[in-house]
Amino acid sequence: MTDLYPIIRSQEFFKEFSEEDVHEVVGCATNIVLHQGQYVFREGEPANHFYLIRHGRVSLELFAPGRGPVIVETVEEGEPLGWSWLIPPYKWHFAARCDTLLRAIALDGECLRRKCEENPKLGYHLMRKMAEMMESRVQASILRMLDLYGNKH
């Protein structure tokens, strides 16, 4: 079986990680392929994984009664997907549907959490990257709450 090290190493998310730390992470990784229309995960399901998208696009959906599924964000090649694996109760708050053929690295959440406990340096780097992702998503949410495009004429 081919080692996923070179693939994970090439991901933007892991660019600043040491060789040692990436090798640790490889032990939690599997390669996945999903087809257009398939769900990576569904709202309410246990959040067991964290994904790095290598190819394709995923829509994050929230089901609103009376309105059907509303897309709240799309995530593309090179971007990480999902942080619920990190925070109890480890359940997905959104559904992730493939808009296209999807190739991704799936990292086992429990495995990652265990490695972070055992290796605080890896844990710190991973938490810092996750915090960056969260910060950028929160900032994007704030911008959207402002209804940015509504006032110019």
Binding site: S59, L60, G68, S136, Y149
Partner: protein, 285 residues
């Protein structure tokens, strides 16, 4: 590579509106529309540069500044796109082919079409901010060999709010122009990006060290777009923004659009970002 602002072409008598006839009224989205105008005097023409604006006068109602959104290569056909937001633009929405409207202009500075030659060009538009950028895109497409990679990043509220959707579809199918569109919210029928336009900056294919960026939209969107462009490595001296203030006279006399020492109608609306940066963050301006 610090680029520079291009200056306005002056009008003969800037305070006297010239009569124009509404040739076409185009409903663009639920709350935006375009007016295609032709001069009352068939020999007249209005030469402008991309990014400039006109004062449009609905007789008996009032006058408003609206960016020109048509093609500078067609000076006999004037196009303005606006959102219905006040008394004058509401009256404008009621105009029909054959009606007359007053036009003063063109006023203000333009997008740096000359300075951008030989470089990649990134246009970042938010909402109706696409309208003042459309003339720049027409210009580039007419002179395509003068520019490097050209990327349009456009964000709007929903798929229904996409401006110039037919033209965007045409531009997307061209091989010499990259068009990325994102919306704030969508239903599952939408097959494009969902998220803020600033997110597209990180993904777009251009060389940050050799790029001129033109940004137009609400100021807060421009602020975050500039931050993202700078994060990608585009110097702020190569980023241009279009400011919007309460322009009245159009020639820097009345002071309605004054921003510290700047008269946005005359010194703007297009500014090189590094020149206006200190004012950008100031409150109550």
């Amino acid at each position: 590579m610090a680029t520079s602002i291009e200056r306005a072409v002056g009008a003969a008598d800037p305070m006297v509106p010239a009569p124009y006839v509404v040739e076409r009224f185009i409903r663009e989205t639920q709350d935006t529309f375009s007016l295609e105008l032709e001069p009352f005097d068939p020999s007249a023409e209005l030469r402008f540069l991309p990014g400039q604006f006109n004062m449009l006068y609905v007789f008996g109602v009032g006058e408003v500044p609206i960016s020109i959104s048509g093609d500078a290569a067609e000076p006999k056909k004037l196009v303005h796109t606006t959102r219905e937001v006040g008394v004058v633009t509401r009256a404008m929405r009621g105009l029909k082919p054959g009606h007359t409207i007053g036009v003063r202009g063109p006023f203000g500075t333009s997008w740096p079409m000359e300075a951008a030659k030989g470089h990649d060009v990134v246009l970042v538009a938010g909402g109706i901010g696409l309208a003042p950028l459309r003339p720049a895109l027409y210009w580039i497409l007419r002179n395509r060999d003068d520019y490097g990679k050209v990327v349009l990043l456009y964000g709007t509220r929903s798929p229904e709010d996409i401006l110039y959707s037919k033209e965007l579809a045409k531009w997307r199918s061209q091989f010499d122009l990259e068009v990325y569109i994102t919306v704030d919210r969508a239903t599952s029928e939408w097959r494009g990006n969902v998220g803020v336009v600033t997110k597209l900056v990180g993904r777009a294919p251009f060389d940050p060290a050799d790029t001129v960026a033109m940004v137009c939209g609400p100021e807060i969107m421009m602020r975050f777009a500039v931050e993202e462009l700078a994060r990608r490595g585009v110097p702020t001296s190569d980023i241009y923004v279009s400011m919007e203030r309460n322009m009245k006279c159009g020639i820097g006399l009345c002071g309605h659009c004054q921003l510290r020492g700047e008269f946005v109608c005359k010194d703007g609306p297009v500014y090189r970002f590094d020149a206006i940066e200190p004012l950008f963050m100031e409150r109550e301006l």
